[in-house]
C-alpha cells in the first residue's frame, strides 16, 4: 500500500484492511495444510526433485510464496523501469527481437570471413568472433607455444592484417561485432578499431562488444596474460577511452557463462558474475570516472542451462540485483546505469556426445528459457559441439531454432509472461537471496581479487562440478542417452568439421611476409612508446592503437606490456 493510500484511509479502515489481509493469509494457510495432507498420502515417483544446481524444488507454490512490496519498493516494477525484474526495456521484443548472434571462428581470417558472410546471408543479425587458443593467450601464430593450435578452436588473428581480412567486405559501421577475448582484449580491440579506420568507418559509430572480463578468467576460463592489478587497470583504460571515442560500443561483457560451464551452480554463476561486475564499477569509480557515464556500457553474458524455470528466474534476479546495487550502493542516478543488458548462450556443457541429435531439443528448451528471461541477444549451440567445431549444417539448425522460437512459438508477443507465477517469483527471490549471501562471503575474504588469490572461487566451482558428476554417475540425475535410455551404440556417425593442418603453415607463411613488408622503425618506436605508457600510468589505448596501425603483432604488443606488468602465474589448487 502506498503512502498516499495510507493517508487517505482513516485509522479504522486501515485496521480493517490489515485484519482482512490476515484472515486471507490464515485461510490460504489452512487450504495449504489441507492440500499437504492429501499430497503426503499419495506415493511419489522416485526421482530427484532438485534443479541441476541441486536446488530443492517444492511440489507446489502458492500466493504465500510471492514477493511482496516492502517499504514502497516494488520488486517487480514495470518493464524498462527500476528494478527491471520484468525486463530492461519498456517494449522488449515488440520493438526488436533479441539479436541472433552465433559465435563463429575457425582456421584463417579468410575462411572465417566466408562463414560470417554465410551467416549474414541466412538471417543472422550480428557477428561473434571465436579466436583460437594462441590468440586468446596473446601468442602469434608463429610462436613456438602455438604449435598445433593455430586456427583449430577459432580464428587466428595475430595482427591488424588478419583483422582486416576477417572483415573484408563486411561494413563495420553497419554490423555489430562481439569478440570473445579477455587476457589480450585491449590489443584485439585496437586491431578492430584500426580495421574499421582502414575501412574508412567513423569509429564513433562502432557497435559491438569485447568480452574483456578478466576476473572470470582467473576464476574459471583461464585465458589470462597479466596479473590482476595491471589487467584491471587496462580494463578501466578501456572504459575511459570507449566512453569518449566509441560511445555505442560495450567495452566489457561481464560473463557468467564460463563460470557456469566450469561447474558452478546457477546461484554461484549469478553471484560471482554480478560481484565481478560491481568490482569493475568500483575500479572505475576509484579512477575518478563518472559512474553514470561508464556504467551504461557495461554488458553481461549468462549461460542458459537445462533447468528451465531456474534459468528464467536467474535472469530476472540478475536485473534486480544489478539495479539495486547500482542505485543504492554505487549511487548511479541514470536509469541506463541501473539497467542490466545481457547476451545469453545455451549450455555447451549440457550437450552430449551420445545420441547427439538430442542436443537440438536441449538447445531449443534452453533458448526458450533465455527468451522468457528477457535476453538481448542469444547464441544457440550446435548439436555436434561435443565432437568438433560445428559443421555448417549444424550451425544452420541452431540458428533456425532461434528463428522458430522468435517467429512461430508466440513467446515474444508479450513481455515477461511468467511474472506473477508463484513459482517463478519465488525462485527469483530465492536466487537473489542466495546471491546476496555469497556477496557477503566474498566481502568477508576482502573482495574478488583476494578470493581468486586464495583459490576460493576455483575450489567452489570445482566442488560443484564434482557434485554434478557424482549425480550423473550414480544415475540419480538422468541424462538422456548417457545414463538412461541408451541404444547400445550411442555414437552416431555424423559429419564433423576438421581443420586442415595446412592452415597453420599458411598462417605462419603470411606472418613472415607481413613482418617483411612493414616498417621496422615504426614497429620499434610504437612498442617503446607503449612500454613507457604502461610504466607511466597513462591510458594505454592510444599507444596500443599506434602499435596496431604499425602492424605490430599481438605477441609483440603483449611482450611490450609484459615487460612492465609481468605475467600471471596460476596458483594450482586441487
Amino acid at each position: 500500500m502506498s503512502t498516499i493510500e495510507k493517508d487517505m484511509l482513516g485509522r479504522a479502515e486501515l485496521e480493517d484492511a490489515v485484519r482482512a489481509r490476515d484472515r486471507e493469509i490464515a485461510r490460504l494457510k489452512a487450504r495449504l495444510a489441507e492440500w499437504e495432507e492429501s499430497y503426503d498420502a499419495i506415493p511419489k515417483r522416485d526421482d530427484l526433485f532438485t534443479t541441476v544446481s541441486g536446488r530443492e524444488i517444492r511440489p507446489l507454490y502458492t500466493e504465500l510464496d510471492r514477493a511482496r512490496a516492502e517499504n514502497g519498493d516494488d520488486p517487480l516494477g514495470f518493464p524498462g523501469s527500476y528494478p527491471f525484474t520484468r525486463g530492461p526495456y519498456p517494449t522488449m521484443y515488440r520493438t526488436r527481437l533479441w539479436t541472433m548472434r552465433q559465435f563463429a571462428g575457425f582456421a584463417t581470417a579468410e575462411e572465417t570471413n566466408a562463414r560470417y558472410k554465410y551467416l549474414l546471408e541466412h538471417g543472422q543479425t550480428g557477428l561473434s568472433v571465436a579466436f583460437d587458443f594462441p590468440t586468446l593467450m596473446g601468442f602469434d601464430s608463429d610462436h613456438p607455444r602455438s604449435l598445433g593450435e593455430v586456427g583449430v578452436c577459432g580464428v587466428a588473428i595475430s595482427s591488424l592484417a588478419d583483422m582486416e581480412r576477417l572483415f573484408e567486405g563486411i561494413p563495420l559501421d553497419r554490423v555489430s561485432v562481439s569478440m570473445t577475448i579477455n587476457g589480450p582484449a585491449i590489443i584485439l580491440f585496437c586491431f578492430y578499431v584500426a580495421a574499421a579506420e582502414k575501412q574508412g568507418v567513423d569509429v564513433g559509430v562502432l557497435r559491438g562488444t569485447v568480452q574483456n572480463d578478466i576476473l572470470k578468467e582467473y576464476q574459471a576460463q583461464h585465458a589470462w596474460v597479466f596479473p590482476p592489478e595491471p589487467a584491471l587497470r587496462c580494463i578501466v583504460d578501456m572504459f575511459e577511452w570507449c566512453s569518449e571515442h566509441t560511445p555505442k560500443y560495450n567495452p566489457i561483457s561481464i560473463s557468467g557463462y564460463h563460470i557456469r560451464e566450469a561447474g558452478a551452480t546457477a546461484a554461484q554463476e549469478l553471484a560471482f558474475t554480478l560481484r565481478n561486475g560491481f568490482e569493475y564499477v568500483e575500479r572505475g569509480i576509484a579512477r575518478g570516472l563518472d559512474v553514470d557515464a561508464f556504467a551504461p556500457r557495461l554488458s553481461f553474458f549468462f549461460d542458459v542451462h537445462n533447468d528451465f524455470f531456474e534459468e528464467i528466474a536467474k535472469l530476472r534476479a540478475a536485473r534486480r540485483i544489478w539495479a539495486r546495487g547500482m542505485k543504492e550502493k554505487y549511487g548511479a542516478t541514470k536509469p541506463d546505469a541501473w539497467r542490466l543488458r545481457t547476451h545469453c548462450q545455451t549450455a555447451g556443457v549440457s550437450l552430449t556426445a551420445q545420441q547427439p541429435e538430442n542436443n537440438i531439443v536441449r538447445v531449443a528448451y534452453q533458448a526458450m528459457a533465455a527468451a522468457l528471461g528477457g535476453t538481448q541477444s542469444l547464441h544457440t549451440n550446435s548439436m555436434d559441439e561435443t565432437l568438433s567445431l560445428p559443421t555448417e549444417k549444424a550451425v544452420r539448425i541452431a540458428l533456425r531454432t532461434q528463428q522458430i522460437l522468435a517467429h512461430e512459438s508466440g513467446v515474444p508477443n508479450t513481455i515477461d509472461p511468467l511474472a506473477g507465477s508463484y513459482f517463478v517469483e519465488s525462485l527469483t527471490d530465492e536466487l537473489e537471496r542466495d546471491a546476496l549471501a555469497l556477496f557477503d562471503e566474498i566481502d568477508a575474504m576482502g573482495g574478488v581479487v583476494p578470493g581468486i588469490e586464495q583459490g576460493w572461487f576455483q575450489r567452489e566451482i570445482a566442488s560443484s562440478a564434482m557434485r554434478q558428476q557424482r549425480e550423473v554417475e550414480s544415475g540419480d540425475r538422468v541424462v538422456v542417452g548417457v545414463n538412461h535410455f541408451l541404444e547400445g551404440s550411442e555414437q552416431l556417425e555424423i559429419e564433423t568439421l576438421r581443420i586442415d593442418p595446412a592452415v597453420e603453415r599458411r598462417q605462419v607463411a603470411k606472418m613472415a611476409e607481413m613482418r617483411e613488408t612493414r616498417d621496422a622503425a615504426d614497429v620499434e618506436r610504437t612498442l617503446a612508446a607503449l612500454s613507457a605508457a604502461c610504466a607511466a600510468d597513462e591510458n594505454v589505448v592510444p599507444r596500443i592503437l599506434d602499435c596496431a596501425r604499425a602492424y605490430c603483432t599481438l605477441y609483440e604488443i603483449r611482450a611490450a606490456m609484459e615487460r612492465v606488468f609481468g605475467a600471471y602465474k596460476e596458483p594450482v589448487f586441487f
Binding site: 587458443f133 594462441p134 586468446l136 604449435l147 583461464h222 585465458a223 561447474g263 564434482m466 581443420i499
Partner: protein, 139 residues
C-alpha cells in the same frame, strides 16, 4: 608393502593453451578418491614440462585432458619425449573432444585409450587399474 599393492601414481596434465580444466579436475578427484596418488600439473603445460614432471614424480601413468583439438600434435609429442627420457613404460592415456578416427590413429601410435565426453570416471579408473595389474604380471 609389496610392490603390487602400492598406490598407482598418475600425473593428470593439461597440455597446450586450452584452459578448460573442469574435466581434468573431476578426473583427478575421482582418481584420488579411488586411491591413486594423483599429481595435477595445472594449466598451459608444454609437452616438455609434462614429461619433466612425469619423470621427476616417477609416475606410472600420464593422463592428458585435451579439449582444444590439438590432440594429434600433443599426444604423439609427449609419447616421443617420454621415450627420449627413458620412460617408455609409462602409460599415456587421456580424454577430451577427440573424434573416433583420431582415437584409433593415436592408439596405433602407442597411445593408450582416450575417453570422450560422457564417460563415467569409473571407466577410466578401471582401465588404468587393469593396465597396471597386467603390467605387474608381465614384469
Amino acid at each position: 608393502m609389496a610392490d603390487d599393492d602400492r598406490k598407482i601414481r598418475i600425473l593428470v596434465a593439461k597440455p597446450g593453451l586450452d584452459g578448460h580444466d573442469r574435466g581434468a579436475k573431476v578426473i583427478a578427484s575421482a582418481f584420488r578418491d579411488a586411491g591413486f596418488e594423483v599429481i595435477y600439473t595445472g594449466l598451459h603445460q608444454t609437452p616438455e614440462m609434462i614429461v619433466a614432471a612425469a619423470v621427476q614424480e616417477d609416475v606410472d601413468v600420464v593422463a592428458m585432458s585435451v579439449l582444444s583439438g590439438a590432440h594429434m600434435t600433443l599426444f604423439p609429442r609427449v609419447r616421443e619425449l617420454l621415450a627420449e627420457a627413458g620412460a617408455d613404460h609409462v602409460l599415456l592415456t587421456g580424454g577430451g573432444i577427440i573424434p573416433e578416427e583420431d582415437v584409433t590413429a593415436l592408439e596405433e601410435q602407442g597411445i593408450g585409450r582416450l575417453f570422450g565426453p560422457g564417460t563415467p570416471t569409473t571407466a577410466a579408473i578401471d582401465y588404468v587399474k587393469e593396465w597396471f595389474a597386467t603390467r605387474q604380471q608381465t614384469t
